[in-house]
């Protein structure tokens, strides 16, 4: 089932502004792929009205975990949801990150909460990925210990220099010696994704980016989450959230 009830197992803070939500579907649901997302219903009133989309962070035998940032009305209410609460969920939705060919070295670039989208990919790539991870400061570097055990290399930057290299993730990327074996997987704030895309085009690198947009339906009906691509407007929820790095018109 793509639309199901789930029980909250845990909803805990991992930083001042970030929470980790673990839920157990109460029905049989499809196995999610890296890059896919779930729409989660918050509360039972009409405010907030719409479900909110969140990337899958990890999956265990019986539960699904997402990592979220407190951003607006929905997530502010979401952090108050208690263990045992039954929620309405849709998913897994959208496309997924294509798995790299043998000749490629996956180069994952995550900015801020963008780590929530690529973490599951890093896990699936079983130690093959090189990860560049940037955040504003040390306190916003999430899932760091878990990440270390999953990847081939981990390079970190913080804007304030409180951990890793001081500077943005783009600074980190510029210093990293890329070659044509590297296949990029990027997720993060729009400005960062755009800079990564421009970098990739300039260096002739291939890759994928995951985008975020306001969504209503999550299943391709409302056309609300459209982004402009070389082939016209495409829906982030249906043709995305993962797009070819060359395809987005900024």
């Amino acid at each position: 089932m793509l639309h199901f009830k789930a029980e909250i197992k845990e909803n805990i803070p991992v930083s001042k502004n970030h929470y980790l939500l673990t839920f157990t579907p109460l029905a049989k649901t499809p196995v999610p792929l890296p890059g896919q997302f779930y729409m989660i219903g918050i509360g039972n009133s009409c405010d907030p009205l719409l479900k909110r989309p969140f990337s899958i962070l990890t999956k265990s035998d019986d539960s699904i975990r997402i990592l979220y940032r407190i951003k607006g009305k929905g997530t502010t209410l979401m952090k108050e949801m208690k263990t045992g609460t039954v929620i309405n969920v849709m998913g897994p939705l959208g496309n997924s990150y294509p798995i790299p060919k043998k000749k490629h070295t996956p180069l994952i670039i995550a900015g801020g909460i963008g780590i929530a989208s690529v973490f599951y990919l890093a896990e699936k790539l079983k130690g093959k990925a090189i990860v560049l991870y940037g955040a504003r400061g040390k306190h916003e570097l999430l899932m760091l210990d878990e990440l270390r055990g999953l990847v081939k290399e981990l390079h970190i930057s913080t804007d304030d220099g409180s951990y890793g290299k001081k500077g943005t993730i783009i600074d980190l990327l510029n210093e990293f010696h890329v070659n044509d074996k590297h296949l990029i997987y990027a997720c993060g704030p729009k400005g960062m994704i755009r800079a990564v895309s421009e970098f990739a085009l300039e260096k002739g690198l291939k890759g994928y980016i995951s985008l975020e947009e306001n969504m209503a339906c999550g299943i391709g009906a409302c056309m609300g989450c459209a982004v402009k691509t070389l082939k016209g407007y495409k829906r982030v929820c249906k043709e995305g959230p993962v797009f070819n790095i060359k395809d987005i018109l900024w």
Binding site: A216, I219, C222, Y233
Partner: protein
């Protein structure tokens, strides 16, 4: 228990329909709803040639509602007939196609092509607030609307002709009367209410289009009032919509005079809303020993002012 209702020549097996623009071309919802169970499916508005829609952001949430300014992105008539129509034809439900144009001629060409393709119903979108095409211009002036509807009427021989009305007018009874006089088989209302949202942090409108159409529970009381006013004014059936989230909402619209109801924004929150609403209507009828849905339609009890 009889749930059947008539809209023009159309016999719907029950009064629950989908609202145009919220249900894609039907296929998007087939994982969540048994399309065979619905009274009718109203598909996303179709124009003669494909439309790319408005630049993003196109939607945003507001208290108990949402704004959209999609800009009628659609695949166009040709692709609809070839790729989308055959799929929805597989189901035992009535198919209503919403159409939009920027000239009378465009509406006429669309309507004749769809009438020829034997779709069950054609809904004229003369009330989209977000684009010039299919836009408010036709609904703002009742004489212009009347001329459009009579022209389209002449080219529609088989399908039931429905005119979708805009709430963004001073008196919605006027376009309703004009549509009826020009030969419409039914009217549907309301389309979204023109509205806007502002982001204080950026000091910009939230939507790139600046304004958008408000839908969801926030508009329900306005929609109910308009459905009530129009159903007392015209003799053709009224299809009621605007913030219907559950069976109670749907039944309230029917009491106010709607012969059928369309579910829109609720599909986004719960993709099986339409079938849940239908089940809820059946439970209500059973509990209240109502054998025929027609007993509910227009059954609003209004106290005599002298009492």
């Amino acid at each position: 228990m009889n749930l059947e209702v008539s809209i023009g020549k159309l016999r719907l097996k029950n009064p629950v329909m989908t609202a145009s623009g919220t249900f894609g071309y039907g296929e998007e919802y087939s994982d969540f709803v048994d399309l065979n169970s619905l009274g009718a499916v109203v598909v996303k508005g179709i124009s003669l040639t494909p439309m790319q829609g408005n630049p993003p952001p196109r939607i945003c949430e507001t208290p108990c509602g949402m704004l959209n300014a999609i800009g009628l992105q659609n695949v166009g008539l040709k692709k609809f007939l070839k790729e989308k129509l055959p799929y929805i034809r597989n189901f035992d439900t009535k198919l209503i196609v919403n159409i939009l144009g920027s000239t009378v001629n465009e509406y006429v060409r669309l309507a004749s092509a769809l009438d020829e393709a034997r779709v069950d119903g054609i809904e004229l979108n003369v009330s989209c607030p977000n684009v010039k095409k299919g836009g408010i211009a036709f609904c703002a002036d009742s004489r212009t609307l009347g001329r459009l509807v009579s022209k389209v009427r002449k080219s529609v021989n088989h399908s039931t002709l429905i005119v979708k009305l805009s709430p963004n007018v001073t008196d919605i009874k006027e376009p309703a009367k004009a549509a009826e006089e020009a030969g419409a088989d039914a009217v549907s209302l309301i389309n979204t209410i023109t509205a806007m949202a502002v982001d204080l942090k950026t000091r910009k409108p939230v939507l790139k289009n600046i304004t958008g159409g408000l839908s969801g529970p926030a508009v329900k009381p306005i929609a109910l009032r308009m459905v009530w006013e129009v159903s007392r004014t015209v003799n053709i059936p009224v299809i009621g919509m605007g913030g219907i989230m559950n069976a109670e909402d749907a039944l309230e619209f029917m009491l106010a005079g709607a012969t059928a109801v369309a579910v829109g924004t609720a599909n986004f929150i719960n993709p099986s809303s339409t079938s849940d609403i239908l089940e809820g209507i059946k439970i209500y009828m059973k509990e209240n020993k109502i054998n025929d849905i027609s007993e509910i339609i227009g059954g609003l009890l209004i106290d005599n002012p002298d009492d």
